[in-house]
Amino acid sequence: MMVDAIIEGIKDRVAVAIKVNQSVGIQVPENRHTDLLETLFNFMLSNPNDTWAFVTASDTYDHISKTFKEVSEHTNIKFIDCISRAAGISEFHDNCIYIESPTMLEIAGLEIMNTFQGVEDEVDKYIVIDSLSALMIYNDSEIIREFVSILMSRARSQNIHIISILMEEEVDSNKLIQMNDKIVVLRDSFIE
């Protein structure tokens, strides 16, 4: 795990970036992915009045809820798991919507936007995509680009902020991360 100072640093950095910008891309080395998730979940739990849609294609919801136990108890975070069914995992949790396959991007998009149905205008709303790199394993980069572009347009129209995570090792990720208003690059020991 990273030292607390760095985790706090990321938390502050992301918090400021996402308040000011509609979309933030976070580039992270694969070995720091869990630390980044911990930071984001801390941030979510410390803002219980916000509404979050957390799209996971990297880890199954089952794994996330076991690693970050508090997360599953918070109803302000709705998980959209794109990977469990494709991996043949048939677990079911009330707090999670399972997408049949990570190729079904339209259905994932539909469920993301359904999360915010009925949420009052004054509530801060966020989408986290974890991660674009994982989605690119199952889809061509061009279709992911279209998916993100449409999602951003829909999110903008409803004043929803988007945080997308990208692995540093993903070579095709450059075009995708450039679509964000703000890019935060997380290195092994410092934030850029």
């Binding site: 049949e100 396959s101 190729t103 079904m104 991007l105 339209e106 259905i107 998009g109 539909l110 359904n114 199952y138 889809n139 061509d140 061009e142 279709i143 680009r145 279209e146 998916f147 449409i150």
Partner: protein, 267 residues
Amino acid sequence: MYINTKRDVRSVEEIDMINKEVCSTGIRELDFQMSGGIPLGSTVLVTGCSGSGKTTLCMQYLFNGAQNDDHGVFFTITEPLFKLTKNLEGFSFYDKKLIESGMVNIIDLRIISERLGLDAEKYTVEDAGALLDILKDIADELNVKRLVIDSITALCYRLQSREMIRDFIFKLGTSLAAMNCTTLLTSEVPPQTYKFSQYEIEEFISDGIIFLGDIERRGDLIRTLQVVKMRGIAHSRAKFAMNISAERGLELVPLLKTSDVESLLRR
């Protein structure tokens, strides 16, 4: 001819469309694609392969209508009633009270055939005519505003020759046009084909065609819906991805346009 208002410029045809009375399907995105719904009194072919969502769409249309005081009737010839209602129970739009109160009626045409003393497997022209009369009487009796026949393919299958099928379909078209209701006819087609009907006549008696298909993306099938034709209204012809969920029934979202390279290569 155009009418200039303070706010914008609209053609007379557009204003006519806005004023035209439509029958809302209750499926928000589908209604939006059709400028509010299906024009009242239309006959629409809902076509697709097995498992494409035809019956669910039709049921959602009936139950949504019943919520707004439109009486509806669903004539089935493919599935027994108990199986049909059992499948419906999982959907939030299903309301048993609407069936009990007679707002939604589900009728097995095979039972009617038996009661009429008809051979359930093979119909003559007279049998088919008698069945049409009964169908019309039921619709009139129940003051039905929304009617579904599931499926026209199975109904025609019981007729002996192509000529009989053609005659029956045209008679059906004439009967439906005379009824004061908006009708959905389901039509079975083989999977992965862009064909609207089994006998290639059904589309000619229809005012509209809603095509339920699927696209393959890396081996996964994504359900799609496309309004191919809808007389009398401006409608989208774009292909939409379709989701069927217990909570919300049918939902549509624009299909991503970028084709998957691998899928293209396989075609």
